[in-house]
């Protein structure tokens, strides 16, 4: 009886591991092919499939830049927008969340529920009205139109609220008040340092969200010098590169490698952060 149970458990475990390995293959192979093909010449790529890198990385890079694409500039633009977006999102989300968690003002519950509703509203669909409004203000083709709306980032506030609820210590706030600290001082100098792990997690998501954002930038940014990385990638799909497979793969791979490196370093925070945003303790 016990042996049979043990046998069944082992059998099931084997099946599970096989499924997991298959899923890993499905997950990794497209990315692996991207990296490998970035090092292969267009002829090699057309001749056949290979899982092993070749020697044409530099050639591909030369072809890539010879056609007028400016990946370093796209990188710098994306980095600027993503860093600014991250700072704005983290600061204002934490500020708002702190207000909800610490103060029992009238309408707090309503405001808190309102945030939850806002998370579920597809704001991207109002991009046309947003665009026309920004163009009246002269803010189209300006990164401000991508960054400033993040002052009111409902998802960020929701996350910040979940996090602060689990860590704000009323005694600490009271003690600081006795010492005569102002409310904003308490937030900046006492609570924020304690909330660094949560803020960092929120920051990672804000950064990735901005880094990956294509649609808003695509509509709001028009001059080529201001293109962010996803927009630069879009030009790789254009006619100029039609037959330069090696160069296309390399262009895509350049955007992926830093993300993979960052992920290897921060995966712990990222994975715990995903769960934190969704689960009410």
């Amino acid at each position: 009886m016990l042996n049979k149970y043990k046998f069944q458990t082992n059998l099931m475990r084997t099946v599970v591991y096989i499924v997991l390995v298959l899923l890993v293959i499905i997950t990794i192979v497209p990315i692996w092919l991207l990296l490998v093909n970035a090092t292969r010449s267009t002829t090699e790529i057309q001749q056949g499939l290979s899982m092993f890198p070749s020697t044409h990385l530099v050639d591909n890079y030369n072809i890539l830049i010879s056609k007028g694409i400016n990946i370093p500039r796209g990188f710098a633009n994306s980095l600027f927008v993503a860093v600014a977006s991250t700072i704005i999102t983290v600061y204002f989300s934490m500020l708002t969340a702190y207000g909800i968690v610490v103060y029992e003002f009238k309408g707090r519950r309503f405001f808190s529920n309102f945030i939850v509703v806002l998370v579920m509203i597809p704001m991207q669909l109002t991009i046309i009205g947003f665009f026309q409004y920004m163009s009246r203000l002269g803010l189209t083709d300006n990164y401000a139109s991508l960054i400033l709306p993040l002052i009111a980032n409902a998802g960020g506030v929701f996350f910040g609220k979940q996090y602060l609820e689990s860590m704000v210590i009323q005694d600490l706030i009271d003690a600081a008040r006795i010492d005569g600290a102002s409310e904003l001082h308490i937030f900046h100098n006492i609570m924020m340092p304690l909330a660094v792990p949560g803020a960092a997690t929120l920051g990672i998501f804000a950064f990735v969200g901005s880094w990956n954002n294509f649609f808003n930038a695509f509509i709001l940014i028009t001059s080529i010098e201001k293109y962010t990385l996803p927009m630069v990638v879009k030009t790789l799909r254009g006619d100029v590169y039609r037959t330069e497979y090696g160069a296309i793969y390399l262009g895509l791979a350049i955007t992926v490698v830093p993300v993979i490196i960052l992920y290897v370093v921060f995966s712990r925070y990222i994975i715990s952060g995903i769960a934190m945003g969704a689960i009410k303790e």
Binding site: L23, L118, M120, I121, Y133, I151
Partner: protein, 315 residues
Amino acid sequence: MKLTGINRNYYGYFFIAPFIIGFLVFGLYPVYNTLALSFTDYTLMSRGGSFIGLRNFQVLFADELFVKAIKNTWLIWMLNFIPQIGAALLLSAWFTSVRLKIKAVGVWRAIFYLPNLIIPAVVAALFNSLFAFYGPVNQFMVRAGFLPEAMHFLQNANIARGIVVFIQWWMWFGQTIIIVMAGMTSIPVHLYEAAMVDGASASQMFRRITLPLLKPILIYIFVTSLVGGMQMFEIPYLLTDGRGAPSNSIMTNNILMYMKFASSKGHIGAASAVGVLVFLMTTISALSIFFFMRDRDDSSVDKTARKWFSKKNKS
């Protein structure tokens, strides 16, 4: 010493004020502006327009392409969401199983989440290359004997749609696993222990304990996925020609909205009308799922547990 006598609660308003101002200026006003534009024939060329009532909406409802875009978006979303939630439930059950004791759960999860971090525009361009006529998929299929000769995957309506569905699944199943699993591990172990003492089977425990207690999390995933899915853009846009080809099979709401916006005259009145309709459709769907599926009473762990035990005792 108690400080509650000093009321500083009104400070809360100062803390939330920037959010409210930001929301009014960058959130609510664009909603109003989009709605207002949808009643006009405003174009980017004319930089002006006049009120034309509901004509934009009439045109849209008569437009087969609009109907097709709505249908496609729902279809593509549903076809990727169902296997996504299925895979997440199954894998989470395996990962948290006391019986199986799967090793290196963190590593598996981390790998499955990786595609979500890659720029969607890059993912779309990558799959365009992978499924190209001279691309790796054709090379593999022909060499392995699955296909007699290379084929144009991206010129076949069903295959192109299938690829979009697959990409969406590929990008999101890892994240769904992480959320579902976090929900499962937050269920108190003593519930399972008690059920086990009562002789419940694994599938009974899954249906009677795990699923009911996961409900809030499942609703969260459902709603956020729906809202994201209705705004799907990059993947279908950059996979083929950006106009929903082949034969409009991957034309989505946002692609149609963008096409109206980027048309030679820039019909932003008509584009706004698309935005307004999809906005209403999505918001109503999302909020009704959220409010109707959520338990009216607070479904605390103990309450669900009590229900399950009393049912057990009656039988």
